[in-house]
């Protein structure tokens, strides 16, 4: 680990690093029972769903450095897969698993031709894929085509249930992210991000690793799409396959802190909350703001919000005079 990572670990001792997320999880778990209104729960629900997408995207985009503009494909396919499964009477957990699997499978189909491309070419190819899938789904009659697909809900609408499903998925996503980051696989992804050719020259199989990261991210995103399908009673191509979904999934981790564990989470929560509030009245301002933020972050603080946070910690440490030196 680099000098800063060790410092950060020292700042948050082992116990604290487990305690803080656990505390957060606890608070979130108890939240609906404390009696907030359904709107507050909906806001958090949406944010938690974005967390799963954001964290998933980050595995490919942040760890492996492959920027995909096409994650809406997996979100949409997951939504439709879950919707169809739910309508067929399949129990929810299994429906979500199906959604994740369908998305992962699609990611392999997409990845095989596109992941051979480097950087921006991969990015643009993913834009193309995203659009093609949206067009196909808009024309596909058996899933309702452009008119969308209706989910027949069994029983009364239980908002708490959906909230907890989203929470569990988000927790799984973050947990997976941590596991990957610390594993041998994670090291491979990082090396690919830094220098794909050098990684291959040391025995890493870049194509295979990228495919795996892609599949993992797609599965999480697909499951999130499935969660969304369960919540709404109606989905249609512009809503789940739209380019704006891909953009959102990309913006969240990039602004929150690309390549970190909690950056995508922060980005997702902030984006989700603001988006839901502004979507009715000023959607363009929302994206305009994010565009500006993205420019500023890329130019001045590529580490995003998380990077700023890290700088603050370093600043605090040197201030506290513990004798630590600043990095060369």
């Amino acid at each position: 680990m680099t000098e800063t990572a060790k410092q950060k670990e020292a700042f948050f001792s082992g116990a604290a690093r487990l305690a803080i997320p656990s505390l957060l999880l606890g608070v979130l778990a108890v939240f609906p029972l404390a009696g907030p209104g359904p709107n507050a729960i909906r806001l958090l629900f949406v944010s938690l769903m974005w967390v799963s997408c954001s964290v998933g995207w980050n595995i490919l985009g942040g760890f492996a450095g492959q920027i995909s503009f096409g994650f809406a494909v997996f979100y949409g396919l997951g939504s439709y897969a879950a919707a169809i499964s739910l309508n067929a009477g399949i129990p929810r957990p299994l429906a979500l698993l199906i959604a994740a699997t369908v998305a992962a499978f699609a990611s392999v189909l997409v990845g095989i031709p596109t992941l051979r491309l480097r950087g921006p070419y991969f990015a643009i190819a993913t834009i193309g894929v995203s659009e093609a899938v949206r067009v196909v789904m808009t024309n596909l009659q058996f899933t309702g085509g452009a008119s969308g697909y209706r989910i027949t809900e069994r029983g009364a609408f239980n908002q708490h249930l959906h909230y907890y499903v989203a929470l569990i998925l988000a927790a799984i996503a973050v947990g997976l992210s941590v596991l990957v980051r610390r594993s041998k696989f994670g090291l491979a992804l990082l090396s690919i991000r830094e220098d794909e050719d050098a990684a291959a020259d040391l025995g890493v199989n870049p194509f295979l690793c990228k495919l795996e990261a892609h599949a993992l991210g797609a599965a999480l995103t697909g499951a999130a799409g499935g969660v969304y399908a369960g919540y709404s009673d109606f989905i249609h191509p512009p809503g789940v396959f739209g380019f704006d979904i891909s953009v959102a999934i990309l913006l969240m981790p990039t602004i929150g802190g690309i390549g970190t564990i909690w950056g995508p989470v922060i980005g997702a929560v902030v984006y989700g909350l603001i988006h839901e509030e502004l979507i009715a009245s000023f959607p363009e301002f929302h994206l305009l703001l994010y565009g500006l933020l993205l420019i500023l972050i890329i130019l001045f603080e590529p580490g995003g919000v998380e990077g700023l946070f890290e700088k603050l910690i370093r600043f605090a440490r040197t201030r506290s005079g513990s004798g630590s030196h600043s990095e060369a």
Binding site: G65, I67, P113, T114, R116, L117, R118, G119, P120, Y121, A123, I124, A125, I127, G128, V129, E131, A132, V135, V136, T138, N139, F243, V247, T254, E284, F285, L287, L288, Y290, G291, L292, L293, L294, I295, I298, L299, P302
Partner: protein, 297 residues
């Protein structure tokens, strides 16, 4: 299908290819010199369209004149953007995700500024040309398409002259072939990059204006053309202008004739399918095309 119909379609495809070429040339210049994939290209296309539209609506300026004015206006706009944002991107010989995300951010800003200023209603530029047609023998074409094609050809010829008769053109061609050697023989990289960016934006804006003469548009109309520009560059070869012409022709031919075989709903997926096809069957493998040519020692 009769010969006349076939010829009509063929010529339509050619006319379209002209505009597509102008549209892609902007991206090619910027990529060739700076190795930056300009995602904001879509935003400049859009702004070009609205620029010509506003000149038409407010000052009753013929859109063709509007397009001509776009060149200098957007050239300086491009220089300003370069100064403000693009020059801060660290120089690289291979395209980077930094530049990609930065220009994507710029696209978001431009597109949403477009929405805020103009809203999302469809706009179009309707002149007497829009509905009239010209007849050449048995073939009939909308006048506007011929006019636009003419403007496109003139623009491309001007670019050719620029590339082969000026210091700038020489520098661009040198940098496109090998940026290090270019620097060694005294090419002013900073100045060339700035001019290239300005030129790229100018062509994007002009292309937007030309497209606006033919199609109705909203602030997000750049997106579909961005993808097309990329397909063209892939098909034709990222770093040659002749390649752009070939790529533009292939795309327009496929798009025009595909109407005969594919349900119209699937039309937009054409660009992507060509993209995938091009990437998969390119000779020497895809990786060979995208990586810099290996230096020989």
């Amino acid at each position: 299908m009769s010969t006349v119909d076939f010829l009509n379609l063929l010529v339509s495809a050619f006319l379209l290819a002209g505009v597509y070429a102008v549209m892609s040339v902007g991206m090619t210049v910027i990529y060739g010199v700076m190795k930056i994939v300009n995602l904001a290209h879509a935003g400049f296309l859009m702004l070009g369209a609205y620029f010509v539209y506003e000149l038409f609506e407010r000052f009753h300026l013929d859109p063709l004149i509007g397009v001509v004015l776009t060149y200098p206006a957007f050239y300086f706009f491009g220089i300003a953007i370069h100064w403000l944002i693009v020059r801060r991107i660290p120089r690289s010989d291979v395209p980077t995700t930094t530049s990609l995300l930065l220009l994507f951010g710029l696209w978001l800003v431009l597109q949403n500024l477009g929405y805020i200023i103009w809203g999302n209603a469809d706009r179009s530029i309707l002149t007497s040309r829009t509905f009239s047609t010209i007849q050449l023998g048995p073939l009939i074409f909308p006048t506007v398409r011929l006019v636009v094609f003419g403007a496109a050809v003139v623009s491309l010829l001007a670019l050719e002259i620029l590339l082969h008769r000026t210091w700038f053109g020489r520098s661009v061609r040198a940098l496109m072939q090998n940026s290090e050697s270019g620097q060694l023989v005294g090419v002013n990289v900073e100045k060339t990059a700035r001019t290239a960016f300005g030129l790229g934006v100018a062509f994007a804006g002009a292309a937007g204006g030309l497209l606006a003469m033919m199609y109705s548009f909203t602030p997000d109309f750049g997106g579909a053309f961005l993808l097309r520009a990329f397909v063209i560059i892939v098909l034709g070869g990222l770093e040659s202008f002749g390649g752009v012409a070939i790529g533009a022709l292939i795309l327009s031919l496929v798009e025009t004739f595909s109407i005969l075989v594919i349900p119209s709903g699937y039309q937009p997926a054409i660009s992507f399918s060509l993209l995938a096809l091009g990437l998969v069957i390119l000779p020497g493998g895809v990786a060979g095309l995208w990586n810099r040519r290996q230096r020989l020692t």
